[in-house]
Amino acid sequence: MTENESYSIRIISKVGEAKSQFIESINLAKNGGFSEAKAMFKEGSRLFTEGHKVHMELLTKESNNEFSNLSLLLIHAEDQLNSAETLEIIAKDFIDLYEMVNSKIITKG
């Protein structure tokens, strides 16, 4: 395995799982499990940060002219990073939103 592949896979495994956690946290909130949703979200954020660190390492390497190989796999890794980042923002909002809706329903009912 090349250095490029190893970096890409490390990013994908972290931010990919983060992405999955964010989606799951929205689903949990949808079904009223707010504390589980928030814990899941937190875990997702932690994984995302870890993946981000690997990406940062790679950026530092590139700026030091130690890395220049661009592959489709690395682009895919950055793609996963991007979508996880977007989902993090969305998931946070969705959990809050479902919580608000839920409390409104309870007070009205």
């Binding site: 395995m1 190893s6 896979i9 994908i12 495994s13 931010v15 990919g16 992405k19 999955s20 956690q21």
Partner: protein, 113 residues
Amino acid sequence: MIIMKKLYLFCSAGMSTSILAAAIQNVADSHNLDIEVKSFSEKDIDRIVKEYEPDCILLGPQVKYLSNSISKKFSSTRPVMVISSEDYGLINGEVILKKAILRMKNFEKEGRK
């Protein structure tokens, strides 16, 4: 008679998993195990499972959120397993293969009861 086991991996695009599939295949080949490892996108899972009937379904950590619905659909006929992000990130073909074989063995045992 030993029948070849099919170990199919699914992730969001089938891209990063293809490297992992190659790694697992390498380990299987080096131990002379009759196992076929392939990777696909989760979007094709219904068609692939119906057409090729894999003996074990492995999911990448990035599609972990689908494991419930996929287990519901297929876990009565074959084991469904999520690869941990640690094994995935290290491309730990040997560990993943061991876990998958164990799952298949347990599944067969339970099936015979």
